[in-house]
Structures are given as structure tokens and as C-alpha cells.
Amino acid sequence: MKIKLLGLALLWCASTLVAQDYFPENDGVKSKNNNYTAFTNAKIFVTPTQIIEKGTLLIQNGKVKQVGASVTLPKNTVVIDVTGQSIYPSFIDIYSKFGVEQAKRAPGRGRASQYDASRDGFYWNDHVMPENNAISKFKYDDKKAKTLRDAGFGVVNSHIHDGIVRGTGVLVALNSTGNDGNRILDDQSAQYLSFSRSVAKRQSYPTSLMGSMALLRQMYTDAKWYAAGNSSTKDRSLEALNKNKNLVQIFEAKDKGHALRADKIGDANGIQYTILGGGDEYERIEEIKGTGASFILPINFPETYDVSNPYAANMIALKDMRHWNQAPSNPKVLADNNIRFSLTTYDLKSPAKFKEKLMKAIQYGLSKTKALEALTLAPAAILGKTNRIGSLQAGREANFLITSGDIFEKGTILYENWVQGSKNNINDRNLKDIRGTYDLEAGGLTYSMSITGEAGKPKIAIKQDTNKLKSKITYANNWLTISFNDTEQKSYRLTGLVSKDTDNFKGRLLLPSGKEKTFSAMKTSGFSKDKKEGKKGNSVPEMVGVTYPNVGFGYANKPKPETILFKNATVWTSEADGILQNTDVLLKDGKIAKIGIALKAGKAKVIDATGKHLTAGIIDEHTHIAALAINEAGHNSTAEVKMEDVVDNEDINIYRQLAGGVTSAQLLHGSANPIGGRSAILKLKWGESPEKMIYTNSPKFIKFALGENVKQSNWQSFSRFPQTRMGVEQVFMNYFQRAKEYDIKKNSGQAYRYDEEMEVLAEIINGERFISCHSYVQSEINMMMKVAEKFNFRVNTFTHILEGYKVADKMAKHGVGAGTFSDWWAYKYEVNDAIPYNAAIMQKQGVIVAINSDDGEMARRLNQEAAKTVKYGGMTALEAWKMVTINPAKLLHIDKRVGSIKVGKDADVVLWSDHPLSVYAKAEKTIIEGATYFDMETDQQQRTAVSQERNKLIHMMLKEKAGGGKTQAPKMSKKEQMTCETL
């Protein structure tokens, strides 16, 4: 009998070492094993939906031969009866680092930047590496393979997780008995991309998300241009990119917004990316669905925050508490929306955590069928490999799991994980479950013994009457060994083989004296699971609602336009009619419909504005809120980047600025380089998506910058041109000249290489795009105007422009406007001569002047900043008010739509408690296109709601901790307050 078993085992080994037919053999004679193996009487999940209750799985040579309820077994079949057990296709993880040597972080070199590429014969940017192949860095990792198999995985797709374009992946079966010859299923399995720079490369560009996006766009057009044979030099990156074109393209987004960003780039280039998600897709599920992409979802749901210290608990934002509460529902939400997704162990500390997290997703409503699909069929389908993996249909790799039952139940034991027909033991399938309570007879005494814990790793407690005795148990291969000390601390040792046929067992007993006797154990009752546990497992935990945006002070419903009638207000029109007393204003269909005396209300919501002031919404010509990045500092010209790509609609500063009466703002690129990026002109519609916040048919703007920042004067950097104001001029002259030549060539019909940066600069020369130029001292202001005049366009706006008062006459002549600070100065050398009278002087010389913020705090009281022009320079209240309404609207070319209270304009208005220029005034209502985005009364309710919800979630977390849940330390995810100089 025993010899037969051994023989079987040897056969198994042989069958898995599938030697290639054509390889010579010198360590013996060539022999083949073409035996079949059949697993009978199993519940077989051929696919998530094709389930055979009692069937047979027949495999041969590492492949599934046949599966069905009744399968005729060939004669040379080894039959394994798995009655009562289940067979599943093993899991697939297509976002793995398995076996592939990862990139190492390049040592820092302080602030000395490297601007040029470090490679020859490749793309100009080091972070683009489509020529990388994971297979060249692959070494099968036996140890990791085991941890993955133990978690149920049979196949993984691995790649080099580094850079913006990362090259191809390698699809590997976790077959530790085979060799790379059979376990590598595909060495060009997919191409991987991301927005993240290579950690191994030091080339500066791109320093920002928007830079990464621009780089990808340019790269794709360059690849086409290269493919058409236009390049005179060899570029192995572009060649590889073109070669990889037909592979599955997998994009590491790790964030709902990034997923949408990536998808947009894909759409523009005819590519549908598969996207590695961030686990927060549920927050913007409609748009996520709209991508049409398949997702790979990490399930590293946040651990419970340790909120036992109330001070520390204060630091955690509601947004993060909510994510803890809502994130486990993410897979369910995607399933409910029919979005195809697979699951990954990515970002988990260890694959061993996978099941716990997966169970959580199921507890939060993910169906078991979907869960199985996400681990088998879906990843196989994403890679286009369903004919080889992902199911147990005939012809597939024999990759399957044998379990004690439903694999998605907590107590279920995973016995074996077969990969390519090779068995891997995880838990002994034949091990008898001995858990229960027993009467133990040993040495003439009776003890009560209870065995609990996991079936394969039991725990023991032995009692003599009421005395608990110190005891130990080990149990393997059905051999049981127990030792215990009696009340006198004398030790007894027992060992015996557990029989399959009876619940009782007996065996050898060694008494303290050394005498050998026998013992017996009679089962008195079976094992029952903890009652508490059973209860906890089934109910869906309470979830708080998602808001727009899904952060504190987000709205449960997005604000909608209403018909509103303001009665009896003091109306500041910002038009020629100035201030109208006791006037009514009707807002309808998002527009200002009527202005007059005693207007009829009709169905409008009437707001008594007696004693209050109604103005147009404040417009901030220069903001850096609501952005994920400000500067692309990698080049001295970055016209190719767009702030519209990086709008952050969840920034709480949007709400705070609404509370200060701001309705529109120009989100500008920073001032790290002479030619910066393109602007996003926004309406501060709190709760809407970035796309809906951006003006429709938005005027085109770009940020330019002069002076200390672009010279990098205030930090240790001496390598980038320009280092002087002389150099700044040359940068502009050079770029505009090139853009002019580019445009001429393009319009001539000649073949040209599409260059996004040149396209944008040509727009400026052609008067289609406007410059907002960061500027301080008079010399550079004058220079910039002269450069523009040489190329026959005019500068639209000088922003900051603190020495504008010195050249106001020249500015008026050139026709440039000014967006300035009210009273800032002395923070750097170039603002030594800045004066608060600047706005008044420029205005008097005929320059259109706006007061702007460049500061998230100041922006929420721009009304007060405008009031300072009354103090400094004696502006009238009316003129002062225009500086934050119609004047910035003019500068931004949106004055036909906003900036004043005029019939037909957008209903962007603010109701103030007092004279709007008074330090005592508060914005009571801020309305954009007829929808109320801020209301002081609603705000009060929101405060209560925020604090109640925090309290509720804190109590849920405390309960989770008390119940033994894992916790993480509190943290405060803080968004940086950004300015021009934020890198």
C-alpha cells in the first residue's frame, strides 16, 4: 500500500517535469507520462456561472482535457475522489511585480537639476521606456510564488513598475516544478503606462502630472510621425512603442480622476486603456463607466483609524473617514454598473491579506459570482487569454483550486492549488477535522478535552474537573500529538493516528514515570463556530452617503438652477448705471432675466434683500486653488501643458471662496519658467466635475513669467537658461521665432512634425491665445511688450505687475491690462518698489485693472482687497468694486457673460449683508448660473451634518477597534496651499 502511494507521488513529479520533446536527455532514458488524472465527485466551477454540482475534472499533461457531470475516464487515469469538495479555476493577478527586478531610486543631487536625457538613440525623455521588457529582468521567485499560491493565485502578469511608459509585461504560471519554458505563458503580455516619473531617472521633465500628460500626447503623435519614416535618426523607444501598439495597454491610474485623465489621452489616440484603479471609483462612477475601460482594482481598503485619542481623531478629515467606510463597496459599485474589472493584490502588504479584504468586499455586497469572475475570467479576458487561463474548460491550463467548500466563506479551507497540472499542497485535504469536545481517558483518569481553532491548526484546552491544565497539540498528516501537565506539573505525552472511520481516537500514552500505556478520547460533542462571528459575517455594515464632492461640506444633491427674485436690494451693477437702490433682480434659466422696480415674482423663489447688497460674483484673475499641480518646471518653456488637465474639484477652498463671494477664477500655471502652461478658467461650481467647472468655449490663456522666479534667483540653481533678465528676453524671441517658422511650414502644406508646444505659441502670435504674464519690475514689463510688438500681438494681462505704476502710460498705449495685489510687497527683492497705490495709478492712466489673489486665503476676501484701493489712491467705491468684477471679466474676455448685473448675463451673483467693500460685510448667498452654491443658512446645517457624521463614523471605528479590528494611526491628508511658486 505504502509503496503504491510513493509510486503515485513519483508519477506526479514526473508528469509535471514536462521535458521538451526535442531536448536531448543524458541523465537517464527518455520516458513520457501521458497518464490522465481525474478529480471526481467535486463541485466544479468551470466558469463563475457554469457550475457542475457533482462532476469530474480530467487533466493531462498540465491541461484540462475534459470537464463534466459524467466523463468517461481513459484507462490510464489516476482517479482522485474529492467528494464534498469544490474545484475552482485558480486566481489570476495581472498587476504584479512577481519575479521582475524593480527599478532602484536614483540618489538625489540636491536641487541641481538634469534637464537633458541621459540616453542616446532613444526618445528625448528618459521616463518613456516602451523598449523595456519585463522578461529581461525576470527571475522566477519560488518563495513569492508560494505565498501567491497559498492565497489562491495560479497565474500572474508582472512588469517593471517604473516610468511613464514601462514596456511589456510577462505572464507567468506559478509553477514551481516546471521551468521558464513552460511557466512563461507570454513574454509580451501587455504594455504598461502611468503618469509617474521613473524613480531611476533624474531628467527633470516632467515634474508634474500635467507634464506627464503632455508628454504622453506628444509621444503618441511622434510615434506616428516616426512610423511614417520622417525621422532621420533612430529612436528605439518609438520603435518599441509602435511595435507594442497591438498589445493590451494597461495604465496605472490609482485614482478616479487619473483614470479619466488617462482615458482621455487614450481616446485621442485610438487606445482603450485598461486601468489600474485607486479604489475610489465609486465616487464618480458615472464618468468611470463612461470611459468604457476595464479596471484592475486593488482591494487595499483602509484600515480603521485609531480614534481612541480624541485630539488625534480631530486630525482625520471626514473625507478619509468616509473612504474607510465606503471603500469596501467599490467592487460592488463597479459590478452594479456592469464595468468589467479584475482584482489585484497590488499595494497589499502581503498576498496573505487578500482573502480578508476580499471577504470585506463581499460583505459589502460584491456577489460571489462577480468576485470569482474578477479573479479568473475577467483578468484572462483583459489580457485576451481566455483560451488558456481563467476557466476550467477543456484545453485550458490545469490551474485550479481544491477547497473544502465555498471559497468565499470564512471557514473554508484551501487544500490544494494545482498549477499546470502540478499539485501544490496548502492544507492537507485528507486531514480529518478533529475539532470538538472529548472525554480523555489517560492513566486511569478522565479529563475533559476541547479542540478548537482551525481544522489544520487546532488549539487545545484540557481540564481536570475545574482545573485548567497546561497543554499543547500538534496535528499533521492525521497524526496527533498532545502533551499536558497535571496539577502537580508532571507531564503526560500522547500520540496516535486519527482514523477516518470514527470520531474517537486512541494511541500511545507516556506517563510522567516513563511508563508506556494507551489513551483514548471519546467525542462528546462537535465543534461549533463562535456565535458572535457568525452574526458579524452576514450583515452589510452601515454606510454613509456619498456627496458631491465626496468630502466634508459636499452636497448630497448637486445645486440646481432656480428662478429667484431678489426684492428691494441695493444693486451694484458694475455697469454704467452704478448702484441702483431698492431694486429687484430676477434670475431665470441661469441668466439674469430682469432688473427693475417691483418685479412680479410669478413662480420665483423670493428673497427679501432689504438692507442688503446684490453684486455680480467676484472674479479672481489669478488663482492656484482647485489644482493638483501648479508648475511644470522641467523645461523653461512648457506651453504644451494645460491646467485644465489638473483641475481638482474636491478642493475645500472652492467652497471657502464661494463663502467669500467668488464665482469665477482663472487657474494659472505657476511662474517656474518664462513660458508656462495654459490656464483653466473656472466657475466655482462646488460639486461638479472638473469638466463642468471649466468655462464652455473658454477663452484661451497661457501663463508667462518674468523676473526672479524664472531666473531661479531664490534657490540654488545655476544650470538652466535664463539666469538673467537678458536671457529671459532671448527665450521669448527664440520660441516665438520658432513658432512663427513652424506655423509657416505647417500652413505651406509641407510635412511637419506636430509639436503641441509650437501649436500653442503659434496661437499667441495669431491672436487666438492670450498671455497672463507674471511680472514685477518696469524693465521686464517694457521688454515683454516690445517682444510682443515685434511679433505683432499684444500682451493681454500683466499679473502681479507691482511696478506697473512706473510704466502705466506705456501699458495703456500697448493695450495691456493689469491684475495686481492690493498691498503686497517686501517679500523679495523685485518687489522693493511695490506700492499699494499701484492699482489706482494704473487705472487712472487708462489701464484695465483687476485686484487678484494668487493666494487661497486672500481670495476669500477680495472685496476687502478692492476696498484698499479706496484707502490707497482714493478710488471711488464703484471703481474699486469693478476691480474684482467687470474688470477681471474684461481681462479674461468673459465680460459678455459675467462680471456685472446686466440682463442676459449669467446669473452669477452674490448677496452681501453689508456694503460689499466693508470689512464687516459677509456673503450670504453665492449663486452661479441661478444655482445656489453657497448659502449661509445651508452652511449652518452643513456644519451640524459634518459634525454628526464625523461622530457617527468615529463611533463605528471605535466599535471596530473594540471588536479586535486592525487599526492605523490617525493622519491628516493635507492639501498644500499653492501659489505661483509651488513646485
Partner: protein, 429 residues
């Protein structure tokens, strides 16, 4: 008739001083000056309408309705008089231009350096300092920055030839920046940018306590060799200097005040106090006043009320805590906006005169200069100004005169000079 002539003289004087520019400090008050017909905002919460104020030799000698005029008379009917505003915990005169390292003398190296004194580095001729005066900010506490104990501050007035002349109270206090129980993620090493628990907090607190204990013990000993840091601390144990402790969190505030008290520090002032409104009873029990952060700030936590920084001073004052405003973490030039920080609290429902106290009377009390400065009262220094209107509102904060210790100081600055020069350019003057 005589009165009219005097007015004429004053007017002439004003004109002349305008053309002098400001760089020249005003000379000592020689003749009595009377201001008539003003609304006098006393700085203690009260107002005297139609008030006459007389000052001689730098001191107020009469204040009230119908007081007899004396000397030069300034008829300021309908205008407002305020005590000079006081800016605590500032680096004015220590930094001229933030980005120019050579002009920065605010932060000496070392963690515990109470012996480092701000006064000797104070630039009385700073262009930024002079720009305070046209907005009514006439006094300041010049304070070193950085490290755990940054050094010793001094209080100065803003119209002087040099630091010695400027000094109002020399070496008035020591400035201790309490450790924070949360610390910022080191993003350059790939950590998230937000805050996380500071594991070293207790260690850092112990280090402060040890220093305070050692410094106190040093003071009791005799004949030990000189330890400049310990020696510099003696005033806070003897009650001659105040200890300014910078802390914002509840835990930090409680730890800081309890710790300092246990070490024998008698006069403690809390600076910052973002969460102080939650523990006002504790502050009152310990008799600790607060130099609260200025109102033109963003909330620190995402879920805070948008207007928490606006109403924070009110929350403290309503609870009975002695409060004044400071803007220590703002750029120096911003300090001229001190009155508007106070105005912002009025928008939150605070009485205007109470708001004014937070930059005048209360500040003087907290800094320990209230015997001379901070309010308008007979016997106190004539450090005051006349404004066309409400000085807490941007539109009406329009100064016609400012006096420091009775000296008629210039309201001209580098900035007004440039303004006038370029008005001249365009208007052909």
C-alpha cells in the same frame, strides 16, 4: 483767533514734514497739543464722543468732553482718535526682504537660545517698519524666530533713530515654540504630505521640561560658571519677563501651560491657540491670556467652519479670556493690516470697541506695557492717531496725524514717495 493761527501752523508743519519724507524721526514734543471734536476710541471698550484730548511732554494731560484746549489745536471734527495699534510677536526690523538672505536677521541657529536678543538687530530705519504708521500701527514686539526657544524679544515704537531710541521695554519676554504632537510627512522621501502623529513628541516635551528645570536650578545656585542660556531664563522665574509659548493643539496647550507652571514660570502668554477655544476654562483657571492668530487665515482642518479663523478671537473673548491679535507667521509687511484683522471679527458679531481692544488695550496688558500704552487715558503716553473714519475698515482707515509719545510722526514712507513721484510724472508736476 489764536486757535486758528495754531491750526494754520499745524497745517504748515504737516505740509513741510511731507516734503521732508519720513526717514527723519520726529523730535520730542515741546509744545502742548490739543485735538478737538473727535470720537475717541479709548481702547478699553469705551468711546468718548466729541472729545478733546490734550497732551504735553508726550503724556496725555486731559481727555473728555469740553476739556480746555492748550497749545497747538487740531480741530478734527467728525474724525476718530485711536491709541496706537500694537503688533506683538513680529520680526519687523529683523527682516527687510524675505527672499534676500542678507536682509534676514530673524532666526539664529540653535534650539534653546533664550540669550539671543532681538533688540540689537532691530533696524529702526526699515522701510517696512515705516509703512506701519500710515495704518496706525505704532508699536511692536520685535521677536526672534525659529528653534525651540528662539530668544528674547523687546518692545519698540516705530519712529526712532536707532534701536536704543526705539526701545519701549527691553528684553520683555522669552519665546518658546512648543513641540507638536503631529508632524508633517517628509514628502521628498515619498511620504504623504499630510500630518501624522509625531512619535518623538514626548521626547521633545521632556527636553523642554529638562531645560526649564535646569535653568530654574541654575538660578538657585551660586558661583557656578556662567551658562548664558540658563541665565537668560531667570526673568521668567522671577516674574520680570513673560514666557510666550506658541502652541495650537489642545494637548499641546495643556502640556505647555502645565509644564511651564510646574517649572516655576509665573507669567505665561499663549501664542497661536487655534484650538484654544475648546479649553477656555483651563486657560482662565491658569490665568493665561492668548495672543491669538490673526483672522486672515485659512482653517487648518478640512472640516472646520470656513469662518473659524474669523470668529476665533470672539470665541475666546466671549468665554472671558484676555485676548489680543498677532500675525507672527505672516510676512512683516502684512502687519499694517492689523486693524483689518480686528475689523474682520466685527463681521462675526463682535462689538467694534471690543475688537479694537484686541490690538490696543488688551495687547498692552498682555505685553505688560499697559501702564503707558494701549489706551487713551490721562497720564499715559500720547501714542495715538487721528483717522478720517473708522480705522478698522479699509476704506476709512485714513490717517491725518500720528503721535508717538507726543511726537508728531511722519506718515510718509518709501511708498508714498514713489506714489507722489509717479503721480508727478503723469500729471506733469
Amino acid at each position: 483767533m489764536k486757535k486758528q493761527r495754531n491750526i494754520l501752523i499745524v497745517l504748515l508743519l504737516t505740509l513741510v514734514s511731507t516734503s521732508w519724507g519720513q526717514q527723519t524721526p520726529a523730535s520730542v514734543q515741546k509744545e502742548a497739543i490739543t485735538i478737538t471734536g473727535v470720537t475717541a476710541h479709548i481702547g478699553d471698550g469705551t468711546v468718548v464722543e466729541n472729545c478733546t484730548i490734550v497732551f504735553e511732554n508726550g503724556k496725555i494731560t486731559a481727555l473728555g468732553q469740553g476739556e480746555t484746549t492748550k497749545g497747538t489745536v487740531i480741530a478734527a471734527n467728525g474724525k476718530h482718535v485711536y491709541p496706537g495699534f500694537i503688533a506683538p510677536v513680529k520680526e519687523l526690523g529683523l527682516i527687510e526682504v524675505n527672499a534676500v538672505r542678507a536682509s534676514n536677521d530673524s532666526d539664529e541657529i540653535g534650539e534653546m537660545i533664550p540669550h539671543v536678543r532681538s533688540l540689537v538687530a532691530y533696524n529702526a530705519e526699515s522701510k517696512v517698519v515705516e509703512s506701519m504708521r500710515p495704518n496706525g500701527v505704532l508699536l511692536g514686539q520685535i521677536t526672534p524666530k525659529g528653534g525651540r526657544i528662539s530668544g528674547t524679544s523687546s518692545i519698540v515704537q516705530f519712529d526712532a533713530w536707532n534701536w536704543e531710541d526705539a526701545a519701549v521695554k527691553v528684553d520683555d519676554g522669552i519665546h518658546l515654540h512648543w513641540p507638536n504632537s503631529f508632524r508633517r510627512g517628509r514628502w521628498w522621501l515619498g511620504e504623504p504630505r499630510g500630518l501624522k502623529p509625531n512619535k518623538d513628541y514626548q521626547k521633545q516635551v521632556d527636553k523642554v521640561s529638562e531645560f526649564l528645570t535646569s535653568a530654574a536650578a541654575y538660578g538657585n545656585g551660586k558661583g557656578t560658571s556662567l551658562n548664558p542660556a540658563f541665565k537668560a531664563m531667570q526673568g521668567v522665574f522671577q516674574g520680570t519677563q513673560k514666557l510666550y509659548i506658541y502652541a495650537d493643539g489642545e494637548k499641546e496647550i495643556i502640556d505647555a501651560i502645565s509644564g511651564a507652571k510646574n517649572s516655576g514660570v509665573s507669567d505665561i502668554v499663549l501664542v497661536g491657540g487655534y484650538h484654544a477655544y475648546k479649553i477656555t476654562d483651563f486657560l482662565k483657571e491658569n490665568n493665561v491670556p492668548v495672543l491669538v492668530q490673526y483672522t486672515h487665515n485659512l482653517p487648518s482642518l478640512a472640516d472646520d467652519d470656513y469662518d473659524l479663523p474669523y470668529k476665533l478671537p470672539k470665541l475666546l473673548m466671549d468665554a472671558g479670556v484676555l485676548v489680543a491679535l498677532q500675525n507672527n507667521d505672516a510676512s512683516n509687511f502684512q502687519t499694517r493690516n492689523l486693524p483689518f484683522y480686528a475689523g474682520q471679527v466685527v463681521g462675526q458679531g463682535m462689538d467694534k470697541e471690543k475688537a479694537l481692544q484686541m490690538i490696543t488695550g488688551n495687547t498692552a496688558k498682555i505685553l505688560g506695557i499697559d501702564a503707558t500704552y494701549g489706551t487713551l487715558a490721562v497720564g499715559k503716553s500720547a501714542t495715538l492717531f487721528i483717522s478720517e473714519g473708522d480705522a478698522l475698515d479699509m476704506r476709512t482707515n485714513q490717517l491725518t496725524h500720528a503721535f508717538i509719545d507726543g511726537r508728531n510722526v511722519s506718515l510718509e514712507t518709501h511708498q508714498t514717495e514713489l506714489w507722489k513721484r509717479y503721480l508727478g510724472k503723469y500729471e506733469g508736476k
